[in-house]
Symmetry: C2
Subunit: 571 residues, 2 copies
């Protein structure tokens, strides 16, 4: 394509609203344009990129044997009432009334619709397994849409749903989808990681998230460089320390710690390492039982894990008044020593193995030092893994130490089991003639989010650095003096046509702009390979090549330019 | 593709809900599946067809120089308030409130959004003309959704919007779009007609509808077989008769016509031709002025044309009480003779040239015969073209006589002029440095509707007869005994691979079904070309070819089958 045929609209500065680098660059490059809060138009340049993602996703899904269909965006409330999600899904679901005052929603996801299709279409084990997918616009009414298409309200998603006669079949398709997702993100040229994810209410081990690695990622991931282990920190298990609790050496005694509340400050003030301190977090469960959660001073609470502790499936942080009522002390200096028996103490595994530690004295301005379980306070009611893993923790598979990185979730695969098929009566007749409930899996990719994630992973101060697979064009030709020099024009046009004929996705910048401005645009929009043609070089039959990913400018012969470009693309 | 890899789900009988043949066949063939009123899932087979339409539309739009983008489906109310359409659009627009109680709609069309984009993106005459388009899901809350995807609530549409520095530029792009639409429907292999259409409030001659011709079409079209003239009957002009009003020969006299109300019954009862009768239709305008509209007995009122008569831009049919109050007679025997001066009479051009006619006597059970203008009643206040043309009427271009046919509207192109750009302040800086309002055009194609229209045009008692361009597959191979005969299987597999390699979109029916059942399915889903392979023919190196469009079965040599198929496809 020629820029004269392309609607290209770049900006020098990103609008002030944009916080995230990918959001800024997508606005500056003219990839998206804001219509309203969380609503974006994909401009012509951006749609090219989006379609490249979409096509790779489609090709790999088809290759996996999945069947593409297209369900309506607008869904009747009745189906959601069958699964009980009409009330449960919450305000993220955009509810609609039609002209006859009937209830609908703009689909945030399609489990109910596809299960309705499956229960009427798939009757026999002979039709199973079946994996249906679609690539479609979804809507989730985010309370605070932000970061451009990263957390938009309207977005494009690939969602697949598989149906099975038994769990083994679900596991087999789940494994195929895991491979397919790996193939998709590999083809897209992204650095990614599949991590074990939380399965929430469904339980089991059947859920993985696919993350594009990027410093600005919302998710923290734990992985073991020496093994395959990888998990969202939400889920990654912190093993119990492999040492027993040491013998008490100190007597417990009160120390004045005026104005020192955070464990870091207390440790520094007392000249102790942070890992000798214990913090107590006051929470209340849904039966109004007051709890103290004990964590080592350098550790952070993991709410997902805490929810799995018996009695804490739902909890909230205690109010100041509740803390004072339960412990006789305001938050800041609270601790587990000398507290009423009605307070339930839940200690992290690490804390349970500590001795001679420091904790709040339940007395403003004071901490206790040399505290020991069994001597100064009873062993905690519950010992559990309730903290986030940290770098250096042992890998749960026992094969090394964990490291941490940040990621952007772009895919999620999930063994739904019979959550939806049971409530919606999605049955089939098995080989033995019996009616059985289908097993289900679901598999999502945030197609529009992938574009933003790729930019978070690949950018510099000049703009976007797209991998070839999703760049709007693979190669650009920037002629210097296209509207001035007949030689340059002829050479540029000829090279353009040769590259098109060779099947290269090439953009010829035929605008009458200064070279600097054309270079800046091509760098901003992230074209991976640039060819520059000028009178001076042509006099010697040479043009210039430069890679967006970095590296020096190379002079190459015009005659062999097509082969040279092919070589670069294959590299 | 092989049927074993395709989700194929055909039905012997269409669900009772379906009235229209295309709706029945789409359900029976498993092209669509109903989710709710006016909401359909495109099943895997159907999505293949829909994508073929979509791709042809996209290719031709790109060829025309239009730029594809993708706007959000959900649109903020504020933009619609700028053009005043938030209130005017009516209950077809699905209005939505988000979690913050802000107003949005699920876009029924995108003039407001694109004009908002244009007014910020396009600032200079140098950027004009610009034609943006998208292929996207729209929603219109039809009061009575029916006919499947023909009048669904959620549907796929290609909508394009062009922006111009002046009217000449708009006219040029409009002409390009006219050609592009003709190219699209030609490539789709459909019999279609472009007809002049009503431009409603905007006026001018800049609107054409594209209709797929089919007996079940909702629209009546008038065309001249001897010229290019074609128009929706809504718009087609009925010329004034080329003869003057004849001299009165009869005296006016009352005749008893007991129980005869319809002109047909009156004419038959009196032994007169229908074209000697005049019917009077009582209407009331928005200023409460009572009108009588006079039409020849064999003609029908055209409301669109009537709306163009001064004072009748809006009108409604009079109630029985209003008729009785104005004329002293109930409806059935009313007429224009001897009526109060406050009644405004609007006569169709044909009526104005009539003499010695029959009309109601304003007296129950009686008509007047031998009625003549000027003698028995004054000339009408207004003479205008207010009737539908009929077959045999002179073509408005003077080049022959009109014929009528029925069509299904699948495309509409429209010169919007400055209707939206003016109210939304969509300005550009012209060459002379002046700020001017842009001219606009819009161009729609009902992508999902095209599939239904193609089926209305091409079907028989066995099912769908798709043109090759939008058939789910171009060719099918039906092996008889694929699971029984090694010879048949080997020949079928080899031919399948050869056709795939030749770029033919071929379906191999590798199901273990009876041949009759496979034939029926392939006929039902409308594959244009069928190859049958059986042991008996193979013994002589022969297979069978049959075209879905009709014609006898042909024996062809297996060796030359690929060339033979290519020949059929090129024919």
């Amino acid at each position: 394509m020629r820029t004269s045929q392309l609607y290209l609209s770049t900006l020098k500065e990103a609008p002030a609203e944009a916080e995230l680098i990918s959001h800024k660059l997508m606005l500056r490059a003219g990839i998206i344009k804001r219509l309203g809060s969380g609503l974006y138009t994909w401009m012509p340049l951006g749609l090219r990129i989006l379609r490249k993602v979409e096509n790779i996703v489609r090709e790999e899904m088809n290759r996996s044997g999945a069947q593409e269909l297209l369900m309506p965006a607008v869904q009747p409330a009745e189906l959601w009432q069958e699964t009980g999600r009409w009330e449960v899904f919450g305000p993220q679901m955009l509810k609609i009334k039609d002209r006859h005052e009937r209830d609908f929603c703009f689909g945030p996801t399609h489990e109910e619709v596809i299960t309705d299709i499956a229960r009427t279409e798939l009757r026999s084990y002979k039709q199973l397994p079946m994996n249906f997918y679609q690539i479609q616009t979804k809507f989730r009414d985010e309370i605070r849409p932000r970061f451009g298409v990263m957390r938009a309200r309207e977005f494009m998603m690939k969602d697949a749903y598989s149906f099975h006669a038994n769990f083994e079949s679900l596991e087999a398709t789940y494994a195929v989808m895991h491979q397919t997702y790996s193939a998709i993100f590999s083809r897209l040229g992204l650095k990614f990681r599949a991590v074990a994810a939380d399965t929430g209410a469904i339980g089991g081990s059947g859920s993985h998230e696919f993350h594009v690695l990027a410093d600005a990622g919302e998710d923290l991931l734990a992985y073991c460089p020496d093994s395959d282990y990888a998990a969202n920190v939400e889920l990654a298990e912190a093993l119990a320390p492999d040492h027993l609790r040491a013998r008490a050496l100190e007597e417990m005694h009160e120390v004045a710690t005026p104005g020192k509340i955070a464990c870091e400050d207390v440790a520094e003030f007392l000249g102790l390492p942070l890992d000798k301190t214990v913090k107590a977090i006051a929470v209340v469960n849904d039966a109004n039982v007051f709890h103290l959660l004990l964590l080592r001073g350098d550790h952070n609470l993991n709410e997902v894990k805490t929810n799995k502790v018996e009695g804490l499936a739902t909890f909230r942080f205690a109010t100041e008044a509740e803390v004072e009522a339960a412990l006789g002390c305001r938050p800041g200096y609270i601790g587990p020593v000398g507290i009423p028996e009605t307070v339930r103490v839940v200690a992290d595994r690490t804390v349970f193995a500590m001795s001679d530690f420091v904790c709040g004295a339940n007395k403003p301005g004071y901490h206790l030092k040399g505290v020991n379980f069994l001597r100064d306070l009873p062993d905690p009611a519950v010992v559990a893994d309730i903290r986030n893993v940290v770098a250096g923790d042992p890998s749960p598979d026992g094969k090394g130490k964990l490291e941490l990185c940040r990621g952007i979730e772009v895919g999620h695969i999930f063994q739904l089991r019979t959550k939806y098929s049971e409530s919606m009566n999605c049955l089939f007749t098995d080989q033995d003639g019996q009616q059985k409930v289908m097993e289900m899996g679901c598999y999502g990719i945030g197609v529009s989010r992938v574009v933003a994630a790729a930019i978070e992973q690949g950018h510099d101060d000049k703009g976007i650095k797209f991998p070839s697979a999703l760049a709007p064009f693979t190669v650009c030709i920037v002629p210097m003096g296209y509207h001035r020099s007949e030689t340059v024009r002829a050479a540029a046009d000829a090279l353009y046509l040769k590259l098109v004929a060779a099947g290269v996705d090439v953009l010829l910048d035929d605008r009458n702009e200064r070279p600097g401005s054309m270079f800046a645009d091509m760098e901003l929009i992230g074209i991976p390979h640039r060819l520059t043609i000028g009178d001076k070089g042509l006099a010697e039959g040479m043009i210039e090549y430069v890679a967006r990913s970095g590296g020096d400018m190379e002079k190459i012969a015009l005659d062999t330019a097509v082969d040279c470009v092919r070589g670069k693309l294959a590299a």
